[in-house]
């Protein structure tokens, strides 16, 4: 595909349920970022992958959040035992290299935890 894709686009979860969000980056892109965007806020960094290596997970809000990119392409963000404060849009972005380059964003997954 031409751009970054994410699925599902919308997810409603009951509190305590586990969810998995998928990101397909632009083919060949080395770097992959996850961001969380709360209502009325700008995106906030969660974690960073360079190929399959997770080099920075300092933005993950708790140990309920886990991300992986096992083959250096598709990435999954998993949230265990979801809480209402996890409700947000989760954005994935990829860039071609590993230095400062333009990041291209997917459409996001809107998660609502009831």
């Amino acid at each position: 595909g031409a751009g970054v894709s994410q699925s599902p686009r919308y997810k409603v979860a009951k509190r305590g349920q586990d969810v998995a969000l998928r990101c397909d980056p632009i083919s060949g892109h080395v770097s992959l970022f996850w961001y969380q965007q709360a209502l009325g806020q700008g995106p906030e960094f969660l974690t960073y992958f360079q190929n399959e290596a997770q080099l920075d997970k300092s933005g993950l809000p708790s140990d309920r959040f886990f991300a992986e990119r096992p083959e250096g392409s598709v990435s999954t963000l998993k949230i265990q035992r979801t809480q209402q404060e996890d409700s947000a849009v989760y954005l994935c972005a990829s860039s071609a290299g590993w230095v400062q380059e333009t990041q291209y964003f997917g459409p996001g997954t809107r998660l609502l935890v009831l």
Partner: protein, 115 residues
């Protein structure tokens, strides 16, 4: 603590006029700045960027100005068009204390261009 600030949550401009969106930052290590545009239910779309070695970058109707001493940047859109109506995010990177490409975003400015 918000390291990138967009103090105007909204801006309304008539079609054909200039739109000026402002952004301030606090971290002097930032050396790469970007503007993204976001329509509802879509992800942010890259618009224009500037490196700290420059003070101006132009791309068609869009120009970004950087004032490092004031830690301030602005996006000028001339002439503004109704299709420019969107939320504009300012972002910065370069904090050597964290992942180099990690972006720090402002809260966004909703631009409305009316006919």
């Amino acid at each position: 603590d918000q390291q990138v600030k967009q103090n105007s949550p909204s801006l309304s401009v008539q079609e054909g006029r200039i739109s000026i969106l402002n952004c301030d930052y606090t971290n002097s290590m930032f050396d790469y700045f970007l503007w993204y545009k976001k329509y509802p239910a879509e992800g942010p779309t890259f618009l224009i960027s500037i490196s700290s070695i420059k003070d101006k970058n132009e791309d068609g109707r869009f120009t970004v100005f950087l004032n490092k001493s004031a830690k301030h940047l602005s996006l000028h859109i001339v002439p503004s068009q109704p299709g420019d109506s969107a939320v504009y995010f300012c972002a910065a990177s370069g904090d050597r204390g964290s992942t180099l490409g990690r972006l720090y975003f402002g809260r966004g400015t909703q631009l409305t261009v009316w006919p």
